[in-house]
């Protein structure tokens, strides 16, 4: 048989699956974003001359959510990369019980987000949560962790970082283990300090793994939904609402599918734009050490 035909045939099931779970919903949403389809139209789609997109441009809530989603993704992914790298470096060191430590470190990642978010909700509970119990033990007044926009945002980021840092750490650990030990030893013989080894050798060689973790996490964080939904419901006052949550509200609560589809497509475009930027930045060959 023609080899290219064989290739096509072999790939066909995967392509069909991709088309069903990815391309089709996306195309459907793109089409739906040009339609009025809400509870007021009896859910029937009716072309509305781009009114959804006009509404989007003037929708302060969309822009606020976009900004807060970007801020959330940027800060939490940044923190996760930093902490994940530190964690990977610690886990990479040989030592007793390392296997257990690795399994333990992965636990937060293995937990379902909703379970975890409920757990954090309990931890942050005012006034009965463990954190407030600690404050009380030190004679301090209970603190409303989830009652002001800034602290809710901060503690949402902390919960997200806690959950996904192990994922980043695991990826980077795999990267670290792919670096032959002799490279580091060779640098040790040159008299390099641990910091120099990290900067001159480990980080440049980890770059593909860091890019991978960054792209994965960025895509996930920009679509953050369950954590926010359970932890703060986007509150207080919508300050932590993510684009995904807004799209979900429009679809499942408001039954405004046309506008929800518009939000989905807008979020998707934003994601494509950002990951493309990230990819272009990271695809570049590793830096030559400057002369």
């Amino acid at each position: 048989m023609n080899p290219s035909l064989v290739n096509v045939l072999l790939m066909a099931p995967a392509l069909v699956l991709l088309a069903i779970v990815f391309a089709w919903p996306l195309l459907d949403s793109a089409w739906l974003s040009t339609q009025a389809s809400s509870v007021l139209t009896g859910l029937a789609p009716l072309a509305n001359d781009g009114a959804n997109w006009q509404r989007l441009l003037g929708d302060a809530r969309f822009w606020q959510d976009a900004a807060s989603t970007l801020r959330f993704a940027g800060v939490s992914v940044g923190l996760e990369l930093g902490l994940g790298l530190a964690m990977a470096l610690v886990l990479h060191r040989p030592g007793r019980g390392r296997g257990w430590l690795r399994a333990l470190a992965l636990l937060p990642w293995a937990l379902p987000t909703t379970v975890l978010a409920l757990g954090w909700r309990w931890i942050y509970n005012d006034p009965y949560g463990p954190l407030n119990a600690i404050l009380k033990a030190f004679g301090m007044a209970p603190y409303g962790f989830l009652t002001t926009p800034s602290s809710t945002w901060l503690f949402t980021v902390i919960a997200d970082v806690w959950k996904t840092t192990p994922f980043v750490a695991l990826l980077l650990l795999a990267g670290l283990q792919s670096i032959p030990a002799e490279l580091e030893e060779s640098l040790v013989l040159e008299g390099a300090s641990p910091g120099q080894i990290l900067r001159r050798l480990t980080l440049p060689l980890l770059r593909p793994w860091i890019s991978l973790a960054l792209l994965f996490r960025l895509a996930q964080a920009l679509g953050v939904f369950d954590l926010v939904q359970v932890l703060s419901r986007g509150g207080p006052a919508g300050s932590t609402e993510s684009l995904a949550l807004y799209a979900y509200h429009n679809a499942m609560r408001f039954l405004d599918f046309g506008y929800s589809a518009t939000l989905v497509i807008a979020t998707f475009l934003l994601l494509v734009l950002l990951t493309a930027c990230g990819w272009l930045l990271l695809r570049r060959r590793p830096l030559e050490i400057s002369r």
């Binding site: 032959p180 030893e185 060779s186 640098l187 040790v188 013989l189 040159e190 008299g191 120099q196 030559e288």
Partner: protein, 338 residues
């Protein structure tokens, strides 16, 4: 090796290893190693895998800590010194080139770390690139180089450090046999006869014999014998050294009365009469010489002969008594001829 006694108060030049040991838990990786390597001398550590040769190298480099013993380099005790301060260069078996850096940057990185001025750095790199004929490869990355070129870059990087000691861990094991043979003289030219002692680890006996001034044979973390290739070949200290050195391997008679005779294949000769009767089983014709596999009362024997010599199917074998090696059949130690 016998060397002149040092002057009082002047440092003993070269490398001196005293009672060096390394244990890992219950396991002894290296036991009580004593060796000396003079300036410009090349010592090969030879032995099968797991014999402790790479362990020794890592102890010398400072990558692993010694359990006891001392390492003296030009009279300084460096046993507890940080690896980075020893000024020891090492060529790893995998070459350990930094895959993200060009050849030039691979060479420059170490100098940068030591904070060498750019001008001096560049001139040094230029000269070593020239010495190793790597000039036109300087902008390539390791992945774009052949095995031999990588080895030369690794070597260049080691020499560039102007080390007090050069260590090489199986530097040719990743190359094909022909290239290995070609590179041997070049490697010798570059490494030996300089200021520093060179310690060269290999499991390849011809390579050790071709490269090194002296050879130390290791087995199970124990030094078996040290000396020139010729000393080791002609007067092996024990059965292991005798068997490990020399291809085809030495013929060993079955033990008798606690003693065991060893005879190298090239020392057996057909004799008209009065010898050991044997029958030819198989012949390997190598071009420059030929190997005969013989069946005799002493078991299967190997005999090396000039290529053109013909043999009858049945023959008698003889040898000169000075070529006899006698070993204690139990301990394997060399015994005087009976």
């Amino acid at each position: 090796m016998i060397r002149s006694m040092p002057e009082p108060f002047s440092p003993i030049p070269g490398l001196r290893i005293e009672g060096l040991s390394r244990r890992l838990g219950e396991r002894s990786l290296l036991a009580d190693l004593n060796l000396e390597v003079g300036p410009g001398e090349c010592l090969a550590l030879l032995g099968p895998s797991g014999c402790g040769k790479t362990t020794t190298l890592r102890l010398l480099a400072g990558l692993d800590p010694a359990s006891c013993g001392r390492i003296l380099l030009d009279g300084d005790d460096i046993t507890r010194q940080d690896a980075g301060k020893r000024r020891v260069a090492m060529v790893f078996q995998s070459y350990a080139l930094y895959p993200h850096l060009s050849v030039a940057d691979n060479l420059a990185l170490g100098l940068r770390i030591r904070g060498m001025a750019a001008k001096e750095r560049d001139s040094r790199i230029a000269s070593v690139l020239e010495l190793l004929q790597l000039g036109e490869l300087s902008l390539r990355r390791p992945a774009q180089l052949s095995g031999g070129q990588r080895q030369r870059v690794a070597l260049a990087r080691a020499l560039l450090r102007q080390p007090r000691l050069v260590l090489l861990d199986e530097p040719m094991s990743n190359l094909d046999a022909q290239l290995r043979e070609e590179l041997r003289p070049e490697l010798r030219r570059l490494l030996c006869g300089r200021e520093q002692p060179v310690v060269y680890v290999t499991h390849d006996q011809p390579e050790a014999m071709g490269m090194a001034d002296r050879i130390a044979v290791l087995r199970d973390g124990q030094l078996q014998q040290g000396g020139s290739a010729r000393e080791l070949y002609e007067r092996p200290a024990n059965r292991f050294v005798a068997a490990f050195l020399g291809r085809p391997a030495i013929n060993l008679w079955p033990a008798a009365a606690g003693r065991q005779l060893g005879l190298r294949p090239e020392h057996l000769r057909p004799v008209p009469a009065g010898g050991l009767p044997a029958r030819v089983q198989r012949r390997e014709w190598w071009g420059n010489q030929q190997l005969f596999w013989l069946e005799s009362a002493q078991g299967e024997l190997r005999m090396l002969l000039p290529a053109e010599q013909e043999l009858p199917e049945s023959l008698q074998l003889g040898w000169q008594s000075e070529h006899e090696h006698w070993f204690d059949s139990h301990s394997g130690d060399r015994l005087p001829a009976p």
